[in-house]
Assembly symmetry: C3
Homo-oligomer: 118 residues x 3
């Protein structure tokens, strides 16, 4: 049995869960939900960096990313521009993107990632 | 090479797959699709407990959860109430929730979880 | 720290990432987006076989599959027919399927899988 470590755990979710040498993150959204897609993407990715650091990893160790966009045709290109500038060259994770409605209607993008322990 | 164990395997899917000390579950839905969101949430989570036990785990070892709701604005609060009562205190997984249509139009909620072996 | 191997890595994503003895694949779609659901399903699954081979695995070692369909009521049965003929008997992964819009509006189906190293 491998020990599980949870970070920032509430009744609803943990922001990160570490099992073995894999880190699983909760879906990450922007802090300010009034921003446009570029601002929300940047803030959500900053939140991922914060939680990865908490769990002992960083963005050079991403394994997977699932990306949900509220308005994919409108926001795909602008989200990708922020994403591609943020991911360290040569370290992009396996990725899949679709359109979805999130819990708060102001959320334009949510990123769900996993990473290896650093 | 780590051995893979599959549980309740059909031509379409296995209800659980164990690899190393990680358990992957198929999307879980209610047994009775005529129930409301509270009833469907409770039944789907009971199904998860059943399959986790089959695979040698339990709900205190959840790593991740992805939750799909057919009508998120209407059903988010009621699903969360059932979810938060069901998850053992201090053991909530990394979670992400969005709105989605499932294979049967009567499905109001589907839970996709992974867990550690107990 | 377990070494990470990435395959076919661009600025946006890797087509496969290996960590420990687990392989994570990017969402796979058909090469020809003018095909119907049967043709697109077959091509996307062929792409998965190609990428799994690259990463040192194969379709008998699938752990999970998440399947996104653009028009679930219309295409669920035809996708399943292709899927069930493709998955080796007794080796089906844990699976979940929902309806979603993908980045290119012609995409009818996308498969996101993980597998064990062969």
């Amino acid at each position: 049995m491998t020990r599980i470590q949870r970070f920032e755990t509430s009744a609803r979710m943990s922001h990160a869960v570490v099992h073995g040498d894999t880190v699983y993150l909760a879906g990450a959204i922007a802090a300010d939900l009034d921003g446009d897609i570029a601002a929300q993407s940047a803030e959500a990715l900053a939140e991922i960096e914060r939680v990865l650091a908490l769990a002992g990893s960083d963005k050079s160790s991403l394994l997977t990313a699932q990306i949900w966009l509220k308005d994919l045709p409108r926001d795909f290109a602008a989200m990708n521009a922020v994403w591609e500038a943020w991911v360290p060259a040569g370290h992009a994770p396996a990725r899949a993107t679709c359109q979805a409605e999130m819990a708060d209607p102001r959320v334009l993008v949510e990123f769900i990632v996993t990473a290896a322990l650093g």
